[in-house]
Symmetry: C2
Subunit: 418 residues, 2 copies
């Protein structure tokens, strides 16, 4: 599957992986901006702006944006995270020109004042709905506690206050700064012609502005508070907890070992956490995840259980993390984790959408391309020595723990009502 890349004079990066045996093509625009790039006064603007992209352009009403995707049978969507805002669609190969036209047009939105006012109400509703989802509330609190003032702790949705006070002009200023051509990657994968794709993107995007882009605070986060933090909301039924710790950044070679340990210790099935907490019925769920960020990284161990079992389960998790930190994982665990990863990487790669996302994410974080076989080989090459080196560099038993739920006290720590 040949890879191609080309940079427009305004800095917009085009990449593509062609696969003639595919029957569709996936296209996406990756904008290197998200919650971590917002000032406190702008909190939530990245996500709000993502919504506004669907509200029309100089050439299209909101209805026409929707209709133009529908007419070509596009499977399209968008998402906003701490670091990226992504707009994407999969279509049959003959609709490549049309899908590039509507996606690129969307990314130069009108941002009309009345649409802004209407959509603000939708976002405020979304923030309220979100507050009914305990795992989301816990995750937001835990990030803020762990990262303190570091912008990786910013909430993607923002708050009722920040979004409520946001003006259309603030959004426009953010848009101009962050949606500059040199902060965007246009990616395609599947059955398409590379030269045609470059011409389409060039025709649609060459007039886009260039700006001073980039990101502050790309250093690793070493100032976590540690300890146990108890947040109490009595009407919640289950207790939710999150262990957060340091991990390698996205461009580190240690990411392969970090993913492997996460799977061995806390995959949703067949892992240490599964066998010691979930299978015996002590917990509803207990998972270990590794999140790679720009210049930084983190591990997350999440727990959901009956409130009365929380203290015991926290102790079980702490013991597992300490055991693995001291002794590593077994050869059988290493092999099983590798088999799972290899299988998942392959299955994700089978769809153009999966490959389009993978190459754009790689390029955004590392500026390089790795084909599926290289990625598989990198995981397959992880040794017990690599695992040890990773654990020494990023000890998994040095975590900050946040609990959220009906418990008013845990291990002597009194809960703070939220």
């Amino acid at each position: 599957m040949p890879f191609h890349s080309h940079r427009l004079p305004n800095g917009l990066q085009i990449i593509g992986e062609t696969s003639p045996s595919a029957r569709s093509v996936a296209v996406g625009f990756f904008v290197r901006t998200g919650a971590r790039d917002e000032t406190p006064a702008e909190a939530g603007v990245s996500h709000f702006l993502e919504h506004m992209m669907f509200k029309g352009t100089a050439r299209r009403t909101a209805e026409q944006v929707n209709l133009d995707f529908d007419r070509i049978g596009a499977n399209n969507n968008a998402s906003t995270s701490e670091e990226n805002t992504v707009y994407y669609a999969a279509v049959l190969p003959e609709y490549l020109p049309k899908v590039v036209d509507v996606l690129a047009d969307m990314l130069r939105p009108s941002l009309r004042q009345d649409d802004f006012d209407t959509e603000k109400k939708v976002i405020l509703e979304e923030i309220k709905l979100y507050d009914d989802q305990p795992d989301s509330v816990m995750s937001d609190h835990a990030r803020r506690i762990y990262y303190k003032s570091h912008p990786l702790g910013n909430s993607v949705l923002g708050t009722l206050e920040s979004v409520g006070a946001l003006t259309r002009d603030q959004m426009y200023a953010y848009f101009s700064r962050r949606y500059a051509a040199n902060n965007i990657v246009a990616s395609a994968a599947g059955n398409f012609d590379w030269d045609e794709f470059v011409k389409l993107i060039s025709d649609a995007c060459s007039t886009w502005n260039t700006d001073i882009v980039g990101r502050e605070n790309r250093t690793e986060w070493t100032d976590a508070p540690g300890g146990l933090h108890v947040l109490t909301r009595e009407k919640v039924q289950q207790e939710y907890a999150l262990f957060v710790g340091n991990g390698p950044p996205a461009d580190s070679k240690m990411r392969y070992a970090a993913d492997t340990v996460a799977l061995a210790v806390g995959d949703y099935s067949g892992s240490r956490l599964y066998w010691e907490l979930v299978d015996p019925g002590h917990a509803e769920s207990a998972d270990f995840g590794y999140a790679e960020n720009d210049g930084s990284g983190a591990i997350f161990v999440s727990l959901t259980c009956e409130p009365d079992n929380t203290a015991e389960n926290l102790a079980r998790i702490e013991k597992i993390l300490k055991d693995v930190q001291r002794d590593g994982i077994t050869d059988a665990e290493l092999q099983q984790a590798k088999n799972k990863i290899l299988s998942r990487v392959v299955r994700r790669s089978e769809r153009p959408m999966g490959r389009m996302m993978a190459i754009a994410s790689m390029w955004t974080y590392t500026g390089e391309y790795r084909d599926v076989d290289t990625e598989l080989a990198n995981f397959d090459a992880v040794t017990q020595k690599d695992i040890r080196a990773y654990l020494d560099a990023y000890p998994i038993d040095r975590t900050t723990v946040v609990a959220f739920g009906p418990m008013t006290e845990l291990n002597g720590t009194v809960g703070k009502a939220v």
Copy 2:
């Protein structure tokens, strides 16, 4: 992508579609049994039995079943519907022998009494949880009201009473009857060797019993009650409604026109229901679906909205159904629906899992194989004349309507508390 089929002497049907460019293989056992094949005393046994399949065999404990999937990185699961119980997994090609071994072994379970007793508690909990999900409650009630005593109205989960009273011996009797070899299709798609697959299935399944299988009541359902039925539960926040009507069975050529009309009238985006109910904010959601069954078929129009808007929204939907019944859909709607269907069929076909499911479902319902291009051509060939013929044969405006939510009265019909 060549298709193969082979029938074992005991009646077990093996089918496969090989695709050498794929990087994984998906394998599934389709058992032609589900809620509609249960007697009232057995209600819920198909789904309960699906759970029991993971509890161990003569050769494996429950832990070993789980471990054996995990060791090969399998993406495995199972599901039960009104008509089918399906066990499936996707793996890297080298693990085909292992995944067939564990899947086939699972399908001859021990059904131990103590596992049965433990799992019954899990199922009873699941039924209670389900009762907290308004759309599921509404769907169960609506099926029962529409189908009256016809077994297609049976609930997949069963009731607290039926599952509570079920014995291990009843389950075993059902298992022996319905999991006979001649009621099962073993399907594979992706990167695998057909002869090897046949040998693996033959080695694992040749001793399986043969029985008198089949299904009663495969005739079309023409005795629907019609009218509006109001079910009231005051603590529910939104009002949920379902229109149910007759549709072509799975082996009818009219299925292509039925799918096309469903998408044009009620796809989640860009359809008549979307533009007239969802986009203007009258309803949270309004969708039109076509469900193809064995010897029968149905259409479902579902609505979720603010309780006070229910009567108006029911009237809007009725008008749309009447308009389409009288005038059909426009040429633009026909073309847009086709584009969506073609795109979705292609995207589903890109993964071995998608193809494995598609060929097994086709074979189970029609005893035939259609490759992706044939299926695409069948949809592409739908004309306005076909749409008219479908609407004449299965009028979409003759429906039974069930509403569920806080409304105590709708259009003069007083709600029945549930």
